[in-house]
């Protein structure tokens, strides 16, 4: 225990003696938390529409008015030919082309049917799909308006209408920042924690001080604990800063209790630091440690459920996410912040995280050898 005190004293001194790294640890998450959540809106709106109108009739004008009034589309390009509009798509000036054939109005009135053509840039398949269905819905609505104009319907319209009402629980204003801010905080915390631990120990390996420590009678558990505790504390400070920003700048106060978040975070940090430790025992230099943690971070972040939904991933990728601590913390944050879940609601996640912490640290302790 006394040895631990000396270890901690030394680590803290070293941390505070390197202002460059200390600044980065605290300032970088703050800046990213202030900036990045604003970017995270992938609701499909502002679809750039290019119209090729070969008809120029009153009907097409009405239809276009209806489309622009919907708010989903920005009509900024009128093309004279499909070819020309396709070029707009190529240059990313348009996402969707609507081609109205000549005699559209005449066909609709005389032949009682007409056809419209749509072409959508589908590189982003989801956006294409949604954009297409929005437009179809508007056209359908317009279609019924036209019909009522021409047919005197009996008391009940022969057109079937299913009214769809939707409501959004837990976040009725659909403020995506409520979801993104805690999520980004989790990712930042993970990166800072893992990298600090990994690099710190590999650095001692590189400069040779670790050998000087290996030749002392110090117990390896003490040594590892002495490394983990200071970074754990830094992590908790970063978390606190992050939660403070979430409250001050985004007005996010968890519906559940801070206590729940802190309890989970305390265990989570041990897991993440353990992972850094593990990286450090396998990396022989800082370069390797960095590459390894870059590799892990990419997977943790992109398969963490914050950016894309885990349910949509193929089975094997969903298995990977089960070994991804980040995905658990993001889920817990969402539950506590937005749904007000309590400790007992998240207890399964807590157990899993304890498992992670034990597993990573246990593995790291076993594979750390004082003697080669």
């Amino acid at each position: 225990m006394r040895t631990l005190k000396f270890l901690l004293q030394k680590e803290f001194r070293q941390i505070f003696r390197d202002p460059a790294i200390l600044r980065i640890i605290f300032i970088m998450p703050v800046i990213q938390l202030l900036v990045l959540p604003w970017a995270a809106d992938y609701e499909t709106k502002n679809i750039k529409l290019a119209v090729v109108d070969h008809d120029h009739s009153a009907y097409t004008r009405q239809l276009l008015n209806k489309i622009t009034a919907s708010g989903y589309f920005i009509l900024n390009e009128y093309g004279s030919s499909y070819r020309q509009s396709l070029q707009q798509v190529e240059n990313d000036k348009a996402d969707l082309i609507l081609e109205i054939p000549a005699h559209f109005e005449k066909d609709l009135v005389k032949e009682e049917k007409a056809t419209l053509f749509m072409a959508i840039n589908a590189i982003n398949g989801v956006k294409a799909n949604l954009g297409g269905s929005y437009l179809q819905k508007i056209i359908q609505d317009y279609n019924s308006e036209v019909r009522t104009e021409w047919i005197q319907f009996p008391r009940f319209s022969p057109e079937t209408q299913i009214a769809v009402t939707s409501s959004n629980w837990f976040n009725p204003l659909m403020n995506y920042k409520y979801f993104m801010v805690p999520g980004i905080l989790v990712i930042l915390l993970t990166m800072v924690g893992t990298n600090l631990t990994a690099i710190n120990i590999v650095k001692e390996k590189e400069i040779g001080t670790i050998e000087q420590i290996n030749v002392t009678p110090i117990h390896k558990y003490t040594f590892i604990l002495g490394k983990l505790l200071p970074f754990w504390l830094l992590g908790m400070i970063v978390l606190t800063l992050g939660l403070l920003i979430a409250y001050l700048f985004y007005g996010i106060l968890p519906l559940g209790s801070f206590f729940t978040i802190y309890v989970f975070a305390a265990i989570y940090l041990f897991a993440v630091l353990g992972l850094g430790l593990l990286v450090s025992t396998y990396a022989s230099n800082q370069q390797q440690a960095m590459l390894l943690s870059f590799f892990l971070m990419m997977i943790f972040i992109l398969l963490g459920g914050l950016y894309t939904s885990i349910d949509s991933m193929p089975e094997w990728a969903q298995w990977i996410t089960r070994f991804n601590p980040v995905s658990y913390f993001i889920e817990v944050m969402r539950m506590v912040v937005l749904k007000g879940s309590t400790l007992s609601d998240i207890r399964n996640y807590l157990y899993i995280m304890m498992g992670f912490a034990l597993f990573f640290n246990g593995w790291a302790v076993i594979s750390y050898r004082k003697r080669s």
Partner: protein, 246 residues
Amino acid sequence: MEKIITAHKLTKRFGDFTAVNQISFAIQKGEIFGFLGANGAGKTTAMRMLCGLSMPSSGEATVAGFDIYRENEKIKRSIGYMSQKFSLYDDLTVKENMRFYGGIYGMTDTFIRDKTASILEQLHLEKEGDKLVGSLPLGWKQKLAFSVAIFHDPPIVFLDEPTGGVDPVTRREFWSMIYQASAAGITIFVTTHYMDEAEYCNRVSIMVDGRIEALDTPAQLKQTYQAKSMDGVFLKLARKATRAAD
């Protein structure tokens, strides 16, 4: 005299490469034992095995009466070690380094305070106590590292090329520190490739290609190999080497 370090056919292999090949020797308590050899002869590997940093492939050895296989953690209480790489923390001050290493050897606060003061006085570094180690010249760092290695008063200290890269004056001062430690009863195990330093040792062993080719007092060695200096002895033996220095 009491034997404090013994080795019997101690061997270390890395794959097909035998770094240390069946070396045997015994070191008396209080001796200054020199371990000589060209670069790559296996000195450091042999020392690392004795310190419990490296697992031997075969053979036996004891340090301070403890077996190096089973009791390596007990050995660590009885030894000090100064590695080839400079191993104090550059970003800690002189005092902080001493406090740290004293602390992890379980020394009391009073002991650490008194010892730190006496070392600084001895090295005439009283003013530098609160300076970062990284800012000190190499020679001072080296002397500090030695003081830290024997901070906890171990019966044995292992020094791995302690004087590499320092000027002759500092080297002489360094050796006077070694003599002082020896006079205080500490057994010194030192590797070097400076042949003049070999003359300072009570006994030296000369390693060539992982084996001990010769082991005796410097005077005896010079006589046996009919050389005027240790340099001569070494050249005669080292010529047999087939292993390239790294």
